[in-house]
């Protein structure tokens, strides 16, 4: 008698369970669903306040001036806008990178929560005695984190644009939603989400509780913030070749960290060394 289910069914089973476990815990459920909107609201408030009270003056003799000039070189079509609008478009252009914090934090949270939970409840050993393969388990867990990351980031991006229109800056959306936005949301979000999950797995293999694991994994936030800062101060603008290199680098990092995570997520390692 064939007693084994298909790999797809097993992976789906893992994903469904992860969602049940994560969303049955108030803290982790709130973190995953509310955090993206907090990040969005924070971005909107900063954008509104700076535009309203500082406006173009923020660009005069400040560190942002170089960033704005670089932005105009890359996107010459915005030069026809007023200085105030240029500033708003420039500022909103950083938002897709800022939103990379959402998949980063959700994936890290999912990974650390779900794996440390398994360690704490000692469910990994009985799980490893079933026909589920370790790669299926890892994939199921990472997809369970990836889907909410993607969906919530996209929803938040949509809400952000909606709010921009509601504030009365709808005419700027055509300048804001450029190729950088699309590449960021379609390519970088899943890549960084996956990378964050793998870092979460690696952190979880060493940590005893989700907080400890998150502390180890949250290091991924630093390069994301670094991209935003580099663009703001005019070091670079991630378009064209630079963006391609970043994406390719991210793919390489994903593969490297996947291998590291799979190495740590072997049956033997889990049973013998994970404590």
């Amino acid at each position: 008698m064939n007693r084994r289910n298909s790999a797809q069914k097993r992976i789906t089973n893992v994903m469904k369970k992860e969602w049940k476990v994560v969303f049955s815990d108030l803290n982790s459920g709130m973190f995953v669903t509310v955090l993206p909107f907090i990040i969005m609201v924070q971005a909107l408030v900063v954008l509104y306040l700076v535009s309203r009270y500082a406006g173009p003056a923020a660009l005069q003799n400040t560190i942002l001036r170089a960033g704005m000039e670089k932005w105009l070189q890359v996107f010459p079509e915005i030069s026809q806008l007023s200085v105030a609008e240029q500033f708003q478009v420039f500022f909103m252009g950083q938002i897709p990178y800022y939103f990379l914090l959402i998949p980063t934090m959700i994936a890290v949270s999912f990974a650390t929560f779900s794996i440390v939970e398994e360690k704490q409840t000692r469910t990994l050993e009985p799980l490893l005695a079933t026909p589920v393969r370790t790669w299926e388990l890892l994939l199921g867990k990472s997809l369970a984190g990836l889907f909410p990351s993607l969906i919530l980031t996209w929803i938040v991006a949509g809400c952000f644009l909606g709010m921009i229109a509601a504030i009365g800056w709808g005419n700027l959306i055509q300048y804001v939603v450029n190729r950088l936005w699309v590449v960021s949301l379609v390519l970088l979000v899943p890549l960084i989400s996956f990378l964050s999950f793998m870092l979460g797995v690696i952190g979880s293999s060493r940590a005893r509780d989700p907080k400890g694991a998150q502390n180890l994994a949250i290091i991924i936030v630093l390069p994301v913030l670094a991209i935003v800062i580099m663009q703001l101060v005019g070091v670079t603008v991630l378009v064209g070749r630079t963006l391609l290199f970043v994406c390719m680098g991210m793919v390489v990092l994903d593969i490297v960290f996947l291998k590291a995570a799979v190495g740590l997520f072997q049956r033997e390692s889990i049973v013998i060394t994970w404590r």
Binding site: K17, A129, T130, V271
Partner: protein, 306 residues
Amino acid sequence: MAIIETEDLTRTFDTRQAVQNLTMHVEKGEVLGFLGPNGAGKTTTVRMLSGIISPTAGHATVAGFDVSENVDELHEHIGLLTETPGFYERLSAWENLLYFGRFYAIDAESQAAIYLKRFGLWERRNDKVGTFSKGMSQRLALARALLHEPDILFLDEPTAGLDPKSAREVRDLIMDLKKMGRTVFLCTHNLEEAELLCDRIAVFQTRLIAMDTPENLRSSLFRREVVVELESLDDAILTTVQNLDFVETVKRDKTSLILELQDFDRNRPALVRAIVEKNGNITSVFEKKHTLEDVYLTLTREEEEL
């Protein structure tokens, strides 16, 4: 037909040898008690036989599958009860069972229902496992191990930490499994439990010290002894007994005599006659029964002395 076979199965952790050259076989339908002190390597053996960790040397087949090569197939045929039950405490008993059951090509819902009812947990199926007592969790873990109707069950300390009533329930379940013809590999510290449930006993301390039926282990270690209890025991009776030519050894314990006899069954009546003729008032005569604990302690002591 052997359903578990091992040959020189060995597992080393760094420099420490946890299991050393284990060679044994377990027959289909047999309940094997795997006894040994803490840290003897019992759990490591179970983990190797259930394909969770690999042997460092040697090999083993379980249900015809190599434990290193055919792990995926092996897992379809075994059920494992780990020392700690291990459940998602925020999920209900029903959700937990379905999750584990859905890794197999079975009707997880109906199997979960069967075993929840069988183990008296049906009424509590929607309760979170975090609210369960240890006994309930252990029964749920047994239900999980049985969901896919495995040929072989590995039970690691199934009654450890349970109150007497829960332990009794778990033992009854194992008895039922035995009647159903399941092969059970039972790791336990509880020697009474092993005596009650197991067809054969393996005494293990890093290596296999002995493996046989409880009766054969007893007879290989201890000679048969008869105990004669008297109302009072005087020197005349003791001298008479010591002078009987078929009596090999005599020990006195208050008003009782413990004797080893040549041709035990034939000479026992003669012994009784001799005591009665000396006006000894016998209150009872019985064969001294060595417990499995005696067997276990003798074997492990000998091993430690080596």
